[in-house]
Point group: C2
Chain length 340, copies 2
Amino acid sequence: MVTLKDIAKEAGVSMMTVSRIVNGTPGAASEETARRVLAVVKKRGYVPNASARALVSRNSRLIAACLLAVKGANPLEDPYNAQFLGALVNETRARGYDLMLRFVESFDEATRGIRSWNADGAVFNGLPDRHIRALEEQHPVPIVFTDCYTSARQVNCVGIDDTKGGRLAAAYLLSHGHRRFAFCGFYQAEEGVMLHRLTSFRKTVCASGGTLPEDLIFSLPHRTMQAALKDCAERLSAACARGEVTAAFVAADILAVDLIEALAARGVRVPEDLSIVGFDNVPISAHIAPPLTTIAQDVPRKAKCAAEILFRHIEDPKAPAESITLDLTLVERGSVRTLS
Amino acid sequence: MVTLKDIAKEAGVSMMTVSRIVNGTPGAASEETARRVLAVVKKRGYVPNASARALVSRNSRLIAACLLAVKGANPLEDPYNAQFLGALVNETRARGYDLMLRFVESFDEATRGIRSWNADGAVFNGLPDRHIRALEEQHPVPIVFTDCYTSARQVNCVGIDDTKGGRLAAAYLLSHGHRRFAFCGFYQAEEGVMLHRLTSFRKTVCASGGTLPEDLIFSLPHRTMQAALKDCAERLSAACARGEVTAAFVAADILAVDLIEALAARGVRVPEDLSIVGFDNVPISAHIAPPLTTIAQDVPRKAKCAAEILFRHIEDPKAPAESITLDLTLVERGSVRTLS
DNA sequence: GTGAAAGCGCTAACAT
DNA sequence: ATGTTAGCGCTTTCAC
């Protein structure tokens, strides 16, 4: 391994001079010296040791990305997470930072990851409130959360207008003649995006005389739990057959995709027998059968915002906490039928 | 920040004792001391500093994952990459390693990433031959490549039987009465998976008296380049209309998804007007319209193999290079029509 | 514009 | 079973 020392010796200067030149410290060395040193650096293929830098300079140029996931699951199978993470990688890299990726189950795991590598900042996807509180207490570095509904103050968060999303979905379905509804979402132990989407959906529905019976509100555990999906499809198709429901708001496209398939296996066609509005507008939503009408969020934009907030706080640790709520739009495709 | 020193002082022992206890060195301390020290560790929330460890112990417990991508693109939008990376994260984490994620355009970028953080190993997705050679020369740490066709020796690689894949696709289409073919794949500057899939597809097709004219072989630049896709769809639909082609082998599902949509926009229906066999069996392939008949590879298995090879080599740097080729199967769905 | 000294947090190697 | 010494590769600080 080539070190600063090697370069210094070969160039006939001190380590400090090399260090300054490599880091581009303005006015640190004469043109002449700089040229000579840089030549040696290039020739020997010197790459600064990030660990040593991090150790002494108290900043690592490292961002920790933490995705919440149950043990052994692959959160990147959700295209939403994949898209967000990918965009985040590009944002951080563009600023000269590296990114460390962890799937975490608990706040403690995340903590250890950040602290052990001295990350300069972190981005969290979908951490529930009590974890956020625990994290904030202990962390000296800026953290940006996505889609968090926390009562904690001074939290950086970039989210979307879930309430508007629920309203949009309800209004659209109502305007297409639907009155009897179901809701499917992922299970969240605490107040979160799902609850907000549901609440505002229900409110809008009920305000117009529609119905959303309790037994047609489904909370599915996070993916791969086929049993729960099956059960949901079963009950939904039964309710369909009895004419108790004509439309469902499925608060995650990835779930809608699975559900539509499970429904099809039971002879329930979308949108002929059941209309569906999804949420996220994940890339594939346009390609499934039927193309999914869904509430669209701008994921790359979300990642960009998260990065902007994060780096603003890394540069100025005293910057006030920021909370951004991005807008949502309904994308009309083919999964909703107009009731005559 | 809590350091070893702090713990040592508070527990009334030397730093070494704490270090040994924290690292679980067998027989390093008396039960009694260990208990006392661990209590302080817990109380103070001590987390070892990975940078310091890496610096002194010459191993970082860090894996670098490098995905090839053109600048600014998001390789995780390809579900294949997302699935692979996610599985890899879990594999590395299960072994107590952290993972650093980079999207790289060139071998140089990758090198710098690995070297600067002193990664103990690296996994590369889709690096062309000349890069592999350059990397291997310079790298002291084990690297596992996926899907590489390199003439370099002593390279760890986990791939799939692309040749069989091409043959499977051709045989299936032939057995369904097709004789006039097209091929679509991603552009690769050098010999790679695409070329192997194409070559064996063509060979099988021709051996049975089928045709695959040169002007119906399409190489698309890596995603998001809408113009190329459009052009491909245009020509394909024209050829379709003239009865020059009845089936296409599209060597990446993600491409097939886009293509089917572009084709539909031009009035070409799959499989009525054109049959398609894809490649990868990405999770969404089952859900698109029509459900895609495709050559399936086992991505989680691939990630597991990559990890196994990698860690075998990390543990024993002298272990001989390994090259694994995983099997492929054809998954029959609804994108191929039987020609009468 | 350049260098010397000190030390970041930790562990390898050698004591005891 | 525990402590001491030395040093990983780099930057901060201060001196010239």
